[in-house]
Symmetry: C2
């Protein structure tokens, strides 16, 4: 049996060696985005800090005189700020037809901004940035970041650079939906409207499991080298495998059934372990396209941030304490181990072997729900639109319904009727595209968004 798919990977490694050690995945430069530099440190939810940082961003439309028409778009894991073409970068953006004059996000009315998250590889500070304290790239010495950290970095741009006191709308899908809620959660008085599409209030075990496998296949690629690959060949095989797994969660069975069915790409040949069925060639292709397009360490940090996402009150209380410790650490203060919110060494199964049926959750599902109601009460008085997609298996429709119910419950406790909280669910007939619906079924997502924005 021959394995041309493996030979292809070896060939790429060789080619990358010949081409030299420059990372090839950074597609954004200061030539095609705007840059904001914050010389002030940012203190992070899990106890780290960045002494200074950059935010790369793009914008469309015009900020009005009273700075009241800003719409901030938050990105998903792998998307850049290039949601729409610009003068600096005329290539199509990932939401090209969603944004523009008279579009769903109407640039005649709104000043639309999209930023690159910290931790990423599209110009904002991330693992491939240089750590000013060492002069070397951060790699895996980059601190663990949270989705809330991402939006607090964005806020610096919104408030310090643009002097915007209140966003008209915070909007995003997928991890962008998480950020959209997180922004309102962090800056409760600085947002009028919130749109969360295929997001969640807290991750769920299946999605963590799928992301864990993606990270694990990347980390076991010998080329990953514990994150220190910047002078060598990047772990393109691990990235390809990770993307193949991720792609399964982005699309859906019904679409694949229609598009590929269970047919082999070339039924006249003997079955093979290399891509063989149409669905396999599709996954392989998705992996191929991405494996050199994104910094592997950025992928790990952002993927992990999604797992950690939790708008519950407990997580927030802990984060506030932890940021305070980070600040003290930044100022050179010593923190006694008894005080520490997070012990610095990494937890790992290696140290604490799992005994099956032994380790189970400490809090009941009811306690977890209660914690989320309390946490979300910071958002519940805003105008909120939650959009869910029935065919989504990564951020399932029940998670959207959960956000809606939690917000309504939080409002009810304040004696309010909750009519400011809106929920729309796209059926399988509206879209069978699964999690990627926000990129593909623009009309079904856009119509309720446009109506909501007014």
């Amino acid at each position: 049996m021959s394995f041309p798919c493996l030979e292809k990977l070896e060939k790429r490694s060789k080619k990358l060696v010949e081409e030299g050690p420059e990372p090839v995945y950074s597609k954004i430069s200061d030539k095609n985005v705007d840059m904001y530099h914050s010389g002030e440190p940012i203190f992070l939810d899990y106890g780290g800090f960045l002494p200074e940082f950059d935010i790369a961003y793009e914008s469309w439309g015009t900020l009005n005189a009273d700075r009241s028409n800003a719409v901030l778009i938050h990105t998903g894991l792998s998307a850049s700020s290039h949601a729409h073409s610009t003068k600096k970068n005329p290539t199509s953006g990932w939401w090209e037809d969603f944004i523009g004059p008279d579009r769903y996000l109407d640039t005649n009315k709104y000043f639309v901004i999209c930023t690159n998250v910290i931790g990423g590889c599209f110009g904002s500070t991330g693992p491939m940035s240089v750590d000013p304290s060492t002069g070397e790239k951060y790699a895996t010495s980059f601190p663990v970041i949270s989705v809330n950290d991402m939006v607090r970095a964005q806020h610096r741009l919104i408030s310090d650079h643009f002097s915007i006191k209140k966003l008209y709308c915070s909007i995003g899908a997928s991890m962008g939906g998480m950020q959209s809620l997180a922004y309102a959660n962090e800056f409760s008085d600085e947002v009028v409207k919130v749109v969360s599409i295929s997001g969640c209030a807290k991750s769920h075990p299946y999605s963590i499991a799928m992301r864990f496998c993606q990270r694990h296949v990347l980390m076991t690629d010998p080329k990953w080298n514990k994150g220190y690959y910047y002078n060598g060949v990047p772990p393109h095989t691990g990235m390809k495998l990770a993307r193949e797994i991720a792609t399964i969660t982005y699309r859906s069975g019904p679409e694949w059934e229609q598009r590929f069915g269970v047919e082999r790409a070339d039924p006249s040949r003997q079955p093979a372990f290399c891509p063989d069925f149409l669905i396999e060639t599709y996954l392989d292709h998705a992996g191929e396209k991405w494996c050199l397009d994104f910094d592997p360490n950025s992928f790990l940090y952002i993927s992990k941030a999604m797992d950690l996402f939790d708008l519950g009150k407990k997580t927030r209380s802990r984060a506030v304490k932890s940021r305070h410790q980070a600040e003290r650490r930044f100022k050179g203060e010593n923190i006694s181990s008894g005080e520490l919110v997070y012990k610095p060494s990494a937890f790992c199964e290696y140290e604490h072997p799992m005994e099956e049926n032994h380790r189970t959750r400490r809090f009941t599902p009811e306690q977890s729900k209660e914690d989320l109601v309390e946490g979300l009460s910071r958002i519940a008085d805003k105008e909120v639109l939650v959009v869910g997609v029935e065919s989504d298996i990564l951020f399932p429709a029940w998670q959207q319904m959960e956000i809606f119910n939690l917000l309504r419950e939080a409002e009810a406790r304040k004696g309010a009727d909750g009519s400011n909280i809106h929920h729309v669910e796209l059926s399988k007939e509206d879209s069978y595209y699964g999690h990627d619906t926000f990129l593909l079924a623009l009309k079904y997502v856009g119509d309720p968004v446009k109506a909501f924005l007014g």
Copy 2:
């Protein structure tokens, strides 16, 4: 950041080198199973053949005088013939409480047999067996096998060794459910009753996608070495990763939500990329337990056989032709390339790059359905029980309903009422265990099976 989970993998590699190159995953020997040897060749659905082969099996209860009380259990991908303890092997089997006197499979009434599939690593002929034509282990020179090949090998044992003319029942879950239907499909007059639990009539794209990723992570482990690792360290990392991904498909969200929730194993430590959340330690543990317990090549061949499973008429016609060619090949006849059912070289995306939105299915879903109705008409006059599980994401409940509907349709075309076809679906309240329900919710699966067997 430290990565003890990676150090653990390196440590295992070193230990395996020190312990010597013997494969450690063969747990079955002729001491604890019965062996049947067929000196006659078996010709395979995709054009290969085995000149001779072994079947390792176990049995419980007593074959009656007219040999009419045999129940053949078919195994899932990773299970062995050890469904229940025996005198030779008193350890608990994987269906220990399902089989026995007065149990769901009542050994007072039935002679229960369970075999190890060809292609596997539990004593029946597979990739780690010696190819008599070379004196070397087959490795990836082992021919591609199908689920139907597996049951035709079993049939040799049933018919030639036990002289059983007709099975009372063919039963299995998961790939065992596939085999159970395949047995009735291959030997239409030699089965009275058929039970398929969480099986299917044909694989579906999501399940193929998930198995493809498992195989792909294994094949990219450098230690896999294109299948030739038998004298070295086996690809335990690839196997671990593959099992982590597989485990996601075996269990389900609702169970994990109850059991693990979204809680970290040690919330006092900083988040880590090594297993961190409870669900991650669970997956890691599942991978650890399995990574040296199964021959990696066996995993690839059996996993691929599941993808290829298709009871449609077209696939069968092609297989019959292809087996005939294998027979001619065995006899030393030359086959002209124009005659070939399958061209021997492996198809791979490498040779035919996929263009997005270009390659799509050739047959419509309606044509595919029609093909299955025609194929299943060979089974439709048997007493059939199909058991589905609502929480199963790998072999979803709709696939069980599909088998039921296809069989009923096939019967209707013969003018029969189809009352011989039965279907039971376990709700999420009955079992939230997902695909593994047949191992865990014995009563809910066993009661309808027992009633059906009579």
